[in-house]
């Protein structure tokens, strides 16, 4: 491997610092930096807002030989702004024949398999623009992970730096799904209560 330039695309609207996507992706980027990669990161939602920013993002994508896309699952696929950026990349075939892409995707439901369609879409994108697909790390119910996801990312960083393929991983946490659902429901009630709307959680504003 001659080049070591990694670009992290954070695909959560919550931003690079606040989102789980940003934190997980940042951790992998650190692991790569420690192993001699030059790195850069972009918040996808911010760049697709303006044409000049989008052009800058496309230039950053062209600069990178490794793109790490870290994003939340939104209704079984990518958040809309990520699709918008990928449409632009595909139109111009930025990085065709040389860029590699790795996905870190995580979702709210406890089953990591729910990310499967989004992974298939990413692989389809890679094939269409001529990028090399390195696979992805798919996580479910991330809130209950603690440090274990970080350890996995260190392993992936090491593999990538040594030019080995990153493993395809789907990690499920220890908590059973039914318990996760109960805990989640308690959490929603608590959050709504803080906002004074606990009794309106089941409101039907659009009922006819």
């Amino acid at each position: 491997m001659t080049e070591k330039k990694a670009l992290l695309l954070v695909g959560s609207p919550r931003g690079i610092e606040q989102s789980t996507s940003g934190r997980l992706g940042g951790r992998l980027l650190d692991a790569l930096k420690e192993r001699g990669f030059e790195t850069d990161k972009l918040h996808v939602h911010a760049v697709v807002r303006s044409p000049t920013e989008t052009e800058r993002a496309l230039a950053a994508v062209a600069w990178a030989d490794l793109v790490v896309l870290s994003l939340p699952l939104y209704v079984d696929s990518f958040p809309a702004p990520v699709i918008a950026l990928f449409e632009r990349i595909a139109e111009q075939r930025v990085g065709a024949g040389r860029t590699r892409i790795l996905l870190i995707i995580q979702c709210g439901f406890p089953e990591s398999e729910q990310n499967a369609t989004a992974l298939a879409i990413a692989e389809c994108f890679a094939a269409e623009v001529g990028w090399r697909w390195l696979g992805g790390l798919a996580l479910g119910g991330v809130e209950t992970y603690g440090g274990s996801a970080h350890e996995v990312l260190d392993l992936i960083g090491k593999a990538l730096a040594e030019g080995r393929p990153a493993p395809d991983l789907a990690a499920n946490k220890a908590m059973p799904a039914w318990l996760y659902r109960i805990g989640g429901n308690i959490m929603w009630r608590r959050e709504a209560k803080k906002n004074g709307v606990a009794r309106r959680l089941r409101a039907k504003p659009y009922a006819d």
Binding site: Y74, I83, F109, Q114, T117, I121, N185, W188
Partner: protein, 186 residues
């Protein structure tokens, strides 16, 4: 019966397929509204969950996304029409779809062995997906169909069907549109 058709194309290239679908819907007795998403102001979802825990049932962003979400709830049939984009939906369609989560409840439920959400409304529209490709692509088609089926689990749609048509003359678009409508008919 009402059908809400979402036009997820960036330009006019979907007009032919949309006309065929709206005709077929009219023949099946639907009153149809077509929303041309590119002409609407729909900001991307902020990921704040305000639509569940601050203003339950309504997105905190006051733009056309609210009216489209409202129309979706009130329809009997929701139709996504989109260029198949890497096997999935176009960004135009997806910006509206991401804004549909106010229409479901935050509370979790077990649906077909997976975690999903409880319904917010008693009545939910059935969902059809009609994807458009320049020429046939079986892999993209398979992803598209899986995506629509999985969306239907998330929206708790009573019935769902999806198909992909190619614009190279190999697809009988009218027959496919009729097939989709029949598949979700009671």
């Amino acid at each position: 019966m009402n059908a809400l058709v979402l036009d997820g194309f960036r330009g006019e290239e979907g007009q032919g397929v949309l006309a065929v679908l709206t005709n077929a819907l009219a023949q099946a007795g639907y009153a149809t509204e077509v929303v041309v998403l590119r002409e609407k102001t729909i900001a991307p979802c902020l990921g704040c969950f305000g639509c569940w825990i601050k203003t339950p049932g309504e997105c905190v962003i006051d733009d056309d996304g609210r009216a489209v979400a409202r129309a979706a709830v009130r329809s009997d049939l929701l139709a996504y029409v989109t260029p198949v984009t890497f096997g999935g939906f176009s960004s135009e369609l997806k910006k509206a779809v991401d804004r549909f989560i106010p229409n479901i409840s935050p509370f979790f439920a077990r649906v077909q062995g997976e975690t999903h959400h409880q319904r917010r409304y008693r009545r939910c529209p059935s969902l059809i997906g009609l994807g458009v490709l320049p020429q046939p692509d079986r892999e993209a088609e398979a992803i598209f169909k899986t995506l629509v089926a999985h969306n239907a689990l998330n929206w708790r749609s009573p019935r769902t069907a999806a198909a992909v048509v190619a614009l190279d003359g190999t697809s009988d678009v009218a027959a496919i549109a009729r097939g989709l409508i029949e598949a979700v008919a009671r």
